[in-house]
């Protein structure tokens, strides 16, 4: 199956990119309470269509297996578990019209190194999410610095006036 071969080598390439760009194994993050937080958010705030749920860790599969692809051009593939000197690596890749649109690490060496590890692919392989505005129940608003004039019309001003 040529397609499967392409995918397999793709995953290998991704794995290689991961390994090669992982230059700072000594880099650590503060250990307190980061384990769960370091992973990509379990629930995306605005779930995009046909992207996999990162929280659902699939069990190890021996090789790249396309999940049942519906009519859409999006496909999710789970790569094999690749043993590396840092530990096991397993990736899940979403393809849209033959292009990688998302890479989710299902298995990465250890939690302390995870941040640095994933960051090396976070740049080129971006996750697409529908940026649907929502009337979320928020307490505070972060944004580019507003002027004191612009504050009056900002959502933050509304939040500040909504006294409990």
């Amino acid at each position: 199956m040529p397609k499967r071969g392409i995918i397999a080598s793709l995953l290998t390439a991704v794995g290689l990119v991961l390994l090669l760009s992982f230059k700072t194994p000594s880099e650590t993050v503060p250990p307190s309470g980061t384990n769960a937080a370091l992973r990509r958010p379990a629930v995306a705030p605005t779930p995009p269509d046909a992207t996999p749920t990162p929280g659902s860790r699939s069990t190890t599969t021996p090789e790249a297996t396309p999940t049942p692809a519906p009519q859409t051009a999006n496909r999710t593939l789970t790569g094999p578990v690749i043993p590396t000197r840092y530990g096991d690596v397993q990736l899940q890749v979403t393809l849209s019209n033959g292009k990688i649109t998302d890479v989710i690490p299902l298995e990465l060496p250890n939690d302390l190194q995870r941040s640095a590890y994933i960051s090396s692919v976070a740049g080129p392989l971006l996750r697409e999410e529908a940026l649907q505005a929502q009337s979320a129940q928020i307490d505070v608003l972060s944004g580019a610095t507003y002027t004191s004039e612009a504050y009056a019309e900002s959502l933050q001003a509304v939040l500040d006036q909504t006294h409990g």
Binding site: T24, V29, T34, L126, L141, G143
Partner: protein
């Protein structure tokens, strides 16, 4: 958000907003049992920082230092600390955060770091007054402590870069900081240090992490880096990024520290 029909006793909430440093700084405090002068002290401190650092006041320490009317050794501890911090950040960010390059008239301009740094100091002052549950929003850069009420975390909306009344995403934060850079509020004020051209790869970039001082400076630097910015932030231990690209895609790095996507 409070439901006006609710008759149950509302939990304590104190909100105070002041216009300082050319923006609005809000404190939203949920502890009833703190030393209340702490809030006043924090705002007095922020006004004092504005006086010392403002590039718009000709008698500010930073302008007098720039004109050579003052020696560094004569400056307040705040000014010396911030200038040392600027130098450290210039090195850490590979030159993308540069107080020397950002200033007009060749004067130093540490304003890129002062607001986040000052808000963080104000946070420590509230902490010293016994506050454990509050947010400080310094013009869009946020210090988060504790919880808004029992059983839930603070929900920090990230402003949608194209729609002022919408949010692009929501983060739930325990103790930490959120800072966002973008060119949508005050025009193209962030430039690439090497080319001098306005940073134009992203619509906005948000940094989360333990310290607002660093989150703020990292957001500025990473926004100038453009599409390489988010990955750079993720390499800073404890910090994570959320960016919105020109074509309205959301880019996440692993969220770090006491943060999770809502």
């Amino acid at each position: 958000m409070a439901d006006p029909t609710t008759t149950a006793r509302q939990p304590f909430r104190l909100v105070r907003v002041e216009r300082i440093m050319g923006t609005a700084i809000s404190v939203d405090l949920r502890d009833s049992s703190i030393i209340m002068s702490g809030v006043e002290d924090a705002f007095a401190y922020l006004r004092g920082v504005d006086e010392r650092f403002s590039p718009y006041r000709s008698d500010s320490e930073i302008n007098r230092l720039g004109r050579g009317e003052m020696e560094l050794a004569e400056c307040s501890l705040d000014v010396r600390q911030v200038l040392a911090l600027c130098e450290r950040l210039r090195v850490t960010t590979g030159g993308y955060f540069d107080a020397g390059a950002y200033g007009s008239n060749g004067l130093l301009d540490p304003t890129g770091v002062v607001k986040g740094w000052a808000a963080e100091q104000a946070g420590w002052m509230l902490d010293a007054a016994g506050a454990r549950n509050f947010v400080i929003n310094a013009g869009g850069d946020v210090v988060v402590r504790g919880r808004p009420e029992a059983g839930r975390r603070w929900r920090v909306g990230i402003r949608h870069p194209r729609q002022r009344d919408k949010v692009a995403t929501v983060l739930e934060i325990g103790d930490g900081a959120v800072a966002t850079s973008g060119n949508y509020e005050r025009g193209a004020h962030i430039h690439q240090p090497w080319t001098g051209r306005p940073a134009a790869d992203l619509l906005s970039l948000t940094v989360t992490g333990p310290s607002l001082t660093y989150a703020d400076a990292y957001a500025t630097a990473a926004f100038a880096m453009g599409s390489d910015g988010p990955a750079w932030v993720a390499r800073q231990p404890g910090y994570g990024a959320f960016a919105v690209t020109l074509d309205h895609r959301a880019v996440w790095t692993p969220v770090a520290w006491d943060v999770r996507a809502a």
